[in-house]
């Protein structure tokens, strides 16, 4: 279940990371004192029941949120102390996101949805369109670029979302329940696409799922419960990924 990674520096290093929300006058501890590392090129599944802190952990990894305490280091840089601009730049150039609900803009075509991710980088429109076609082709949707999301199946929409996530050639792909709205067969296809991305380009893939079958296909499984990582036989306590 491990992959060989000659790079001794982990992509992610989490040190006693906790995240607490103030809700309704009470405090919700979404993530509690998580310490972990993720190696470059690894494919990790974060599994656990609803409310276990999986999505919160993914948001911390993607710089969408900051920990209440502890540090999240990405390639040696502490994301918890970065400003909004730096985090935005990091998300633009380094991370790719795939969501359970696909989160495509309904009024834009599949190609335009992919191009949205390229827009902040500027450049010539023709170049962007060419890149979009290549991305859609890579997920098998080259002929569906002019279709609105409402005209695409769930699997196709998720493929568009993956193409969008790959638009800026991210080092890390973060997927939150990417098969949650798909049937099992389509879900398996999507997982295959995501895992192949890890295998092809030394791209780190982290997939949040509560589906045991999906988790089983990842290189590593991290199980969470009540905001904490649960030790397992396959995984050293508080460790995600392997450098062996």
């Amino acid at each position: 279940m491990s992959v060989t990674d000659p790079d001794p520096v982990p992509v992610y290093e989490l040190r006693d990371v906790s995240k607490t929300y103030e809700l309704g006058g009470g405090r919700v501890h979404a993530v509690r004192e998580v310490t972990a590392t993720i190696a470059a090129g690894d494919a990790v599944a974060v599994a656990g029941p609803s409310g276990s802190g999986k999505t919160t952990l993914l948001q911390l990894l993607g710089g969408l949120d900051r920990p209440t305490s502890g540090s999240v280091l990405f390639e040696g840089r502490d994301m918890s102390t970065m400003g909004d601009g730096d985090l935005g730049a990091l998300r633009l150039r380094t991370f790719g996101f795939v969501f359970q609900q696909f989160n495509l803009i309904p009024t834009l075509t599949a190609a335009q949805n992919v191009e949205v991710a390229l827009a902040p980088r500027g450049g010539r429109a023709a170049d962007r369109r060419s890149a979009v076609l290549g991305l859609l082709d890579s997920v098998g949707l080259a002929s569906r670029g002019d279709h609105l999301p409402s005209k695409l199946s769930g699997g196709e929409q998720q493929r568009v979302a993956i193409a969008r996530a790959l638009a800026n050639e991210p080092h890390v792909l973060l997927a939150d329940e990417p098969t949650g709205n798909l049937d099992s067969e389509t879900g398996a296809e999507i997982i295959e696409v995501l895992l192949s991305l890890s295998a092809e380009g030394r791209r780190t893939v982290v997939v949040v799922t509560h589906d045991a079958d999906v988790a089983a296909r990842a290189h590593r499984i991290v199980r969470m419960h009540d905001g904490r990582i649960v030790p397992s036989d396959e995984l050293a306590p508080a460790t995600i990924g392997s450098h062996s």
């Binding site: 998300r91 996101f97 803009i105 969008r164």
Partner: protein, 318 residues
């Protein structure tokens, strides 16, 4: 009504919409106002009783706008006899030969006839015109107020729609931020879309507004008034005990009219001819020979002015 001088008075034979004008016989005839006839259910052939005398209705007349109309009109002589006011009148209609003479004639009448109050068609027209100007100003202010209210409402609606749109697009904005869009870029995108939609809405709104205004302008009635020959406070009413305007030698009204434009067509009008005042221009009516002749519409405003001017040029009197 002085039935012998039909063209100058409270109304003319042309304004009799049903039946006929007074005949030349001594029969007791009456002509009733349209609205009065409608209100009382009177028609030609019906009778009205005045001072114990029965009068047969021979016609129904449309009294002109601007004139103080009466309900029932009878022959002058019969009414004087009925009121025991032989030789007395309360209103005398005078037509000058030229509009240029009106002021002079009015002054002469007031000088000659003690207690006479002269009202020219121009006076009445000015009064009505002033009212129309007031009405026009009021309409203009109302339009301005409605425009302001409309703009405020449009701004409020646009703001609410934009707010609603932003609320619905929270997920979209979150996605864009996850994709690396900066806060500033998201705000710029939303603002740009709102401005573009606003500009498009403005273009469509202006086009619809202009079209709507043109449609209203084409269909809506314009402010217009017609001043008839029977000028205000000058119409003969029931004389004596039967009418509102009891005859009094010291309160004789003189309605003075003249052709406009000073046409070089000196012509002795009916009121100055025998049967009228019986005297020359500018003379007051000698006692017992007063004329209450009908006259044509005297003055029209706006579109009416042009019509009347055309009529004047073709020989009609104003």
């Amino acid at each position: 009504m002085d039935a012998k001088n039909r063209e100058l008075g409270a109304f003319t034979p042309g304004q009799v919409t049903e039946g006929r004008y007074f005949g030349s016989s001594d029969a007791r005839e009456a002509i009733v106002n349209e609205s009065y006839a409608s209100r009382e259910g009177l028609g030609r052939g019906d009778t009205v009783t005045l001072g114990g005398k029965t009068f047969t209705i021979v016609g129904i007349a449309q009294t002109p706008l601007g004139g103080q109309s009466s309900d029932v009109y009878v022959k002058l002589g019969q009414l004087q006899e009925l009121a025991d006011r032989t030789g007395r009148v309360n209103t005398v209609y005078v037509r000058a030969e030229s509009a240029d003479d009106v002021a002079t004639v009015a002054a002469e009448i007031e000088q000659t006839v003690d207690g006479a109050s002269v009202t020219t068609a121009e006076d009445l027209a000015d009064r009505v015109s002033g009212t129309l100007v007031d009405a026009k100003n009021l309409a203009g202010k109302l339009g301005t107020a409605l425009t302001i209210v409309g703009l405020l409402a449009a701004f409020l609606i646009a703001s609410l729609l934009t707010l609603s749109s932003v609320t619905k697009r929270v997920r979209e904005f979150g996605t864009l931020k996850a994709l690396g869009w900066s806060q500033w870029r998201v705000v710029r995108q939303v603002s740009g879309e709102s401005l573009a939609q606003g500009a498009l809405g403005a273009v469509v709104g202006i086009a619809l507004g202009v079209a709507g205004a043109a449609l209203v302008g084409a269909l809506a009635p314009s402010l217009e008034a017609t001043v008839g020959g029977a000028v205000e406070d000058a119409g003969p009413r029931f004389i004596g005990p039967f009418g509102q305007g009891a005859v009094s030698a010291s309160t004789t009204d003189v309605a003075l009219e003249a052709p406009v434009g000073g046409r070089p067509r000196p012509r002795r009008c009916g009121s100055c001819s025998p049967g009228g005042f019986g005297g020359g221009r500018g003379r007051g009516p000698p006692s017992g020979t007063a004329a209450t002749r009908g006259c044509p519409p005297a003055h029209r405003l706006k579109r009416g002015e042009k019509r009347e001017r055309d009529r004047s040029r073709s020989g009609s009197r104003l």
